[in-house]
Subunit: 221 residues, 2 copies
């Protein structure tokens, strides 16, 4: 286990690499809100610790060791979030910032107990998979709400964004993980989408919001 700072770098490299496999110094600097030379020197350190593979002007890649470390931190983050919601009764919109701190707590006992109390959960309150103690994660299809056609029905399975303002927005629209929704209308002009909830209530979402809502199609399959 490295320092808190090292852990945050590793975690960010992991999440940025999920799409592309490789991460650039500038991306990481943007994400961590530090300057390029700061990232440059930290990457050298992480490379010397064999957490990342790096050659100047090439991208950054986590080693197996680095990947294991990343998954361990992500596991703690997501277990913490679910615990905060399920056991402590906090809202899904307020747990991310607390989990950012709890993910650095070093206590196998603490996390084993959380895992046990939650009955070895597979997904966090935002629908993200929780790596098991070996770092294994359950794969899931991630279809965006925008990829549904008018008339299609689906279940909301995850959100691709942790930020409080985004989740507050979903709360205001009564959208939650597990909800069944049907596409009523897709606007050509601004790409906004209107849904119908199980309660028959209709809600309108911008493209930007719909994009971050992930669903499992029901009728299409």
């Amino acid at each position: 286990m490295g320092s808190l700072t090292e852990e945050n770098y590793i975690k960010s490299i992991y999440s940025l690499s999920q799409a592309t496999g490789e991460v650039f110094v500038s991306e990481l600097a943007r994400k961590l809100e530090v300057k390029l030379p700061t990232v440059n020197s930290m990457i050298k350190k992480l490379a010397s610790k064999k957490m990342v593979a790096y050659a100047p002007y090439q991208g950054i890649k986590l080693t197996e060791k680095g990947k294991r470390e990343a998954l361990g931190i992500i596991r703690k983050h997501r277990l913490a979030e679910l615990f905060l919601v399920k056991v402590m009764g906090l809202g899904w919109e307020e747990v991310h910032d607390i989990a950012e701190q709890l993910e650095h707590v070093n206590s196998p006992r603490f996390y084993a107990r959380i895992d046990e109390l939650l009955n070895y959960p597979g997904f966090d309150p935002h629908g993200e998979p929780i790596p098991d103690s070996n770092g294994k994660i359950q794969l899931q299809k991630r279809t965006s709400l925008n990829d549904l056609a008018e008339g299609e029905t689906a279940i909301i399975t995850a959100v691709a964004e942790d930020e409080k303002s985004f989740l507050d927005h979903l709360n205001a629209k009564s959208l939650q993980i597990g909800n069944r929704i049907t596409i009523v209308k897709k606007e050509l002009f601004d790409c906004s989408i209107t849904l119908q909830l199980k309660s028959k209530k209709e809600v309108m979402l911008t493209h930007q919001v719909a994009e971050r809502i992930l669903v499992d199609k029901l009728n299409g399959k």
Copy 2:
């Protein structure tokens, strides 16, 4: 709120000052396991932040501001310990080290929720008082088990030591907070003490152990 390091200094100054009011640089260095000059420079910083009052070669004294800060950290530590025992089902001997980390979590919401779930508790699993959100602590008499005479009966109300090895020892002797005990014998030679538990079982304790067990006399009053 200062850094994690500053918080640990403030907390240690507070606990060392409980007896005497004033704390010496060397005491603090011993407690924090750092060298004298390290403490010296940190004290200067804390003085510049008005957390402590300090003049060279005099003792260190927390200011009101410093005291408030200390009580806030101690509150979080003790709430965390009780939460870990009562809600998460961990043993009183294993929670201190986790609380050392959780006490630095910055989230009023997290701690307000713990407080609420525990129904605004006054004491932690080791019998230490939990400061309320204004820093107010319930006073308690702290009579050592060694101060009882043969034949006297008392309730164990607290332990003056958080360390796992000590609490493991008490677990092995079936001693817990709330237990009613009676002094059966006090040895003159080695100052050891023999108690009888409610179960009629007798247990022998060394002076060193008995000293750290705090009780509330029943018959004497």
